[in-house]
């Protein structure tokens, strides 16, 4: 018997998997969705109304590149009309000043602009596209417009030593927040993990620098960072708990409890074309599967931390152990922690030092 579903708080709307960038750590699945299967403006608009009625407070428009949708301004307007707080998570690449004005007028609350680094050449290498120079232009346009801005730097082995320069870029912009998000190892990032995982020494240095920046910029810019959980002692509270706070909707309308859930074998996902958001949230098999504590093995079942981290991440457990019900192996108490330690040993060993020219696996742009 699973407990009653709590109120969902946020919707992550993957409007499309199309993207002009090819980032080697993309959080999209290896099997990308196709344009022909994408939800229509009308279905998305209904989903926003149902979400607001179910108690959802905010929607994050993401992708792929959400600006690849020609109806993006209409989608912003439709979501905002229901009272939802609307964030756009974008590379900025398809933006021009006219489009930016339309988005702000439609009620866009917040833009999260992604950066692959502070230096043009290495940033372009990671995204497989010449994108960096255009992002700097977007930063300049944003200074003259009334919309909140977060800069998001995705951090990994080859840019973690540029954090000082990234901070300087953030401070010269109008951002109220800067996020330093270490890559999380799923999908494309899992495929490229040997080249992305920083060394422990790099990580310690960056955390020290970021703590000082938080102190120095208090009241001016919020500095936030997420460390790679392979280096953590306990797992992250993935998605705030399975089926507890968030619903992710894929471009074709499948409702997922998290970005990576599709990799878990045997899970069936309901589609918003067929069922209402509330019905899926409360009753669908995929959301019920790991909601609450029934599914937990030891040592999670009797662990004091189970109400804080919910046993960690189901997708990570599956990726590393082949069993989605295992304790997240990043946990120091997990029976299979040695799997993570072996990856860390490789990242910190002498072999890793010779990884001078990584052989990246780039994510393609789907049809």
């Amino acid at each position: 018997m699973t407990p009653a579903a709590p109120t969902p708080l946020a919707l992550i709307a993957e409007l499309t998997h199309r993207c002009p960038l090819h980032c080697v750590y993309c959080s999209n699945p290896i099997e990308l969705g196709h344009r022909a299967d994408e939800l229509s403006t009308e279905v998305w608009s209904r989903v926003f109304r149902e979400a607001a009625e179910a108690g959802v407070l905010q929607v994050d428009f993401t992708g792929g590149e959400p600006l690849a949708r020609p109806d993006i301004v209409d989608l912003v307007r439709a979501a905002r009309a229901t009272g939802l707080y609307v964030s756009l998570i974008t590379s900025g690449l398809p933006l021009d000043e006219a489009r930016l004005d339309e988005l702000v007028q439609a009620g866009l609350d917040h833009i999260q602009l992604s950066f692959q680094g502070a230096a043009e050449e290495s940033a372009n290498e990671i995204s497989g596209t010449k994108a960096h120079a255009h992002k700097l232009k977007v930063l300049d346009w944003l200074k003259r417009r009334r919309v909140a801005l977060t800069l998001n730097f995705v951090i990994h082995r080859s840019n973690i030593d540029q954090i000082g320069e990234m901070l300087a870029l953030g401070e010269s912009s109008c951002a109220g927040r800067i996020e330093f998000a270490n890559v999380q190892y799923y999908g494309w990032a899992f495929a490229n993990r040997e080249n992305l995982l920083p060394t422990r020494e790099q990580l310690d240095r960056s955390v020290e620098l970021l703590k000082r920046a938080q102190e120095r910029l208090r009241g001016k810019i919020q500095v936030e960072f997420v460390v790679p959980d392979y280096y953590a002692k306990y797992p992250k509270a993935c998605m705030g708990g399975w089926g507890q706070k968030l619903m992710l909707i894929t471009p074709n309308g499948d409702a997922l409890p998290c970005h990576a859930a599709r990799i878990i074998p045997g899970l069936h996902f309901d589609n918003l074309k067929d069922r209402s958001l509330r019905e899926i949230w409360e009753k669908s098999e995929a959301f019920e599967k790991f909601r609450g504590e029934e599914w937990m093995p030891e040592p999670c079942k009797s662990c004091d931390r189970r109400t804080r981290d919910f046993g960690g991440c189901r997708c990570q457990a599956f990726l590393l152990t082949g069993d989605a019900t295992a304790t997240d192996p990043v946990c120091s108490l997990a029976p299979q922690r040695s799997k993570v330690d072996a990856i860390l040993d490789a990242a910190n060993g002498p072999v890793a030092e010779s990884l001078v020219k990584p052989d990246w696996i780039y994510r393609p742009n789907p049809a």
């Binding site: 407070l57 905010q58 964030s87 917040h110 009334r146 919309v147 109220g176 927040r177 009241g219 919020q222």
Partner: protein, 104 residues
């Protein structure tokens, strides 16, 4: 965390807004999070309109919560405003003339 100037006028920062009246519960939307507002916190936030000064907000709330110790009400409000400022939810508009006369 620094104490807000009593003569400054707090207003919601860009990207922060109250949800509509008539929703089940009132929240302050901020980039990447939302703050649930109960009685006094809602009274404070509704007054952060860029017109009222910190002192005026304190006086209003002291009248509304007249059974509470006035100094405690003032301290609680100053602490709350300073926290929201650190979270980039509030800006304090300072009048240049006001600041020069109130400088100590």
């Amino acid at each position: 965390m620094s104490t807000p100037d009593l003569h400054s006028r707090p207003c919601l920062a860009v990207g922060c807004r109250l949800n509509e009246k008539g929703q089940q519960s009132r929240v302050l939307h901020m980039p990447e999070k939302a703050l649930r507002l109960n009685g006094p916190s809602l009274e404070i936030i509704e007054r952060c309109d860029g017109k009222r000064t910190v002192q005026e907000i304190i006086s209003d709330l002291q009248k509304m919560y007249s059974k509470a110790e006035p100094q405690k009400v003032a301290d609680d409000i100053l602490g709350y405003l300073a926290r929201l400022h650190d979270q980039r939810a509030l800006d304090f508009i300072s009048d240049q003339a006001d600041r020069s006369t109130s400088a100590t």
